[in-house]
Symmetry: C2
Subunit: 117 residues, 2 copies
C-alpha cells in the first residue's frame, strides 16, 4: 500500500519551472505537479485533453479565441487539439493530468522529461 | 469556449452528501466534486482506479490493509479492484476523477446519479 500524496510536499522537492513531476498514476494517466513562471509556448495535443488545476498563484491560459484566467481552486480542461499557451506572471503551482507519455510541449523533440517525485 | 471552473463555487450549489457532481470532462473521464460526511460502503471498482483529492476537511480511506488519511491538498489513488471504504467525520469536500459511467458504489443498482453542475 502506498501512502497519501501531499501536493505541497511534492512541490517543495524541486524548484525548476515548466518541468512536470509525476506524483501518482491513474488508469494510464500521469498525475503531475509543476511550477510555472513566465510564458510557455503555443502548442496543442492532438490526442488528448489537457487538465490544469491551480494550487497556488495565477495562470492565464491563452487560447486563440480568448484567455482563461485561473486562481487557486480553479481548473480548466483544454480540449484535444486546441492551441493554447500557458502564462504565469508570478510563480504558480499546478496539478496536471495527461496520458503517460504526452509531451508537455506538444512535440516529443522539445518536451521536458517527466520524472517521479 | 467554456470558462474556468471554480471548485468552491460548484460546491456551493448543492448540499447533499455522497452525490458527485460533474464539473468537467477529460478524455472520457468525469471530473467531479462531492461533499461527504459519515461512512460510505465497502466497495471496489473492477475496471478503474479511483482518484481522491481533498479540497476541504479530512477523509479516511479505509483499506483492508490499513487506512489512508487525507487532509486538504492531499490525494490518493485507490488501485483498480482494491476494496475501500471512505469515511469523513466532518463534512469534507473532494475532487474525484472516474471514467464516465462508473458507479460510485461499485454497483450500478445502488449508485448515485451523477449530474452536471
Amino acid at each position: 500500500m502506498t501512502g497519501p500524496v501531499n501536493l505541497a510536499s511534492k512541490l517543495a522537492l524541486f524548484s525548476e519551472h515548466w518541468s512536470p513531476k509525476i506524483v501518482a498514476g491513474f488508469n494510464g494517466n500521469d498525475i503531475m505537479v509543476v511550477k510555472v513562471k513566465g510564458e510557455f509556448n503555443w502548442h496543442s495535443h492532438p490526442d488528448t485533453d489537457d487538465f490544469f488545476l491551480v494550487l497556488k498563484g495565477r495562470l492565464t491560459i491563452k487560447l486563440r479565441d480568448g484567455d482563461v484566467v485561473l486562481g487557486p481552486g480553479e481548473m480548466y480542461v483544454v480540449p484535444k487539439g486546441v492551441e493554447h499557451c500557458p502564462v504565469a506572471e508570478e510563480e504558480t503551482h499546478l496539478l496536471l493530468i495527461e496520458p503517460a507519455g504526452t509531451p508537455n510541449t506538444g512535440d516529443p523533440a522539445t518536451a521536458a522529461t517527466k520524472v517521479h517525485v
